[in-house]
């Protein structure tokens, strides 16, 4: 019986995500919420000029974290595809469908938010120096209309991401309150 319990525990451990996937997932979570909170605050800073340079640091930080997020997301997807966790056994079919749609929407929206933000920045004429070390090429020329267009896409995909994240978090909380072990898959078990 004891031996069967040990084997069971090992199998249960395999059921979760890999350690790398877990770390990247939580890095993404913290970074995304920091980007939301800091962006609402930084847009209330004085408009940039020779005398008002309040926006320089937070905007660069915002872009640096946003660009890094795309690489982190790519890493997460690679790790997930290479080491797929076993399918969830206990969920109802509609829950499985909702989880799949929610995850795909999350990935698509994170990429959309980051790419539209970078394009908006490119067309604004402001350069991007990744982590204050690497000058990134400007993919666009200075164009006010395209800057506003991509800025609007950045804004609305951001709101959509927040909505989809709410569903994601609600799902996680639901399973944690049920104590059914599903949340443990993303906790490095």
């Amino acid at each position: 019986m004891e031996r069967e319990r040990d084997v069971t525990t090992v199998e249960a451990q395999r059921d979760g995500y890999s350690r790398t996937a877990v770390i990247v997932h939580w890095l993404l979570a913290v970074s995304i919420f920091f980007l939301f909170a800091s962006s609402w605050w930084m847009l209330a800073l004085p408009l940039p000029s020779e005398e008002f340079r309040f926006r320089e640091f937070p905007f660069q930080l915002h872009k640096n974290i946003g660009i890094t997020l795309v690489f982190l997301l790519a890493l997460l997807l690679i790790v997930r595809l290479k080491q797929r966790p076993s399918p969830l056994q206990l969920q109802k079919p509609w829950m499985r469908r909702l989880a799949l749609i929610d995850h795909v929407a999350l990935y698509v929206l994170i990429v959309a938010v980051c790419v539209s933000g970078y394009l908006s920045s490119s067309y604004s004429g402001w350069g991007t120096t990744l982590w204050w070390a690497i000058d990134l090429p400007n993919w666009g020329y200075e164009n006010e209309e395209l800057n506003i267009l991509y800025s609007d896409i950045h804004l609305w995909t951001g709101w959509a991401l927040l909505a989809v994240l709410s569903v994601h978090i609600a799902g996680a909380v639901y399973h944690a309150f049920r104590n059914d072990g599903i949340v443990r898959r993303m906790l490095g078990v």
Binding site: F33, F34, A44, P46, F52, F54, Q89, N147, G181, R184
Partner: protein, 189 residues
Amino acid sequence: MSDVTRSVIGSAPGAAWESWLGVVAIVLGVLLTAAHGTEWTRQHVLAIAAPANGELPPAECPEDELIEEGLSVGECEQLVSNVRSYLVSAPSWFPGLMTSLSAAGTILALASVVVGAALVDHRAWASAAAIPVFGGLALIDAIGFIGVINAGPILRGLYLWNVLEWFVIHLMMTVGAAAGRAASADTAG
């Protein structure tokens, strides 16, 4: 997957309170990391971008920037006024206090995510670690509350309610962890 494995995943061993408190700690820890990180950024930006004498020049509001940001001239001027009122109302010790608290708060908020994950995972050390981590966060809130009380009405209006809310939440989490630990010890005994 064997039936035995499924039963382990389907009904995770360990007290339900750990799973509930753990997921609350994870979600709030992620949000709080973002909040403290934003506060740290705010203090850093004000320290590096505000003039040494604290006197801000009149706002500059070019028309193209107003269109891009969707701002009226009045709102643009108010952005500068907001910074001015902050600089005028912050005592000399306030930026240092908030920087220290937000730095410590960021670390403890990340720790609360880790402790939350350990609680959901029913690790043996989790409930013991939860009390100092949640208690530390409550202590940071209490120090911040005392600091803001002594910083004048403008900063009280900006910070006080927010700090009080987090203090009550962290107090409840600390007491909840202590009560859950005691209940588990009673059950084991």
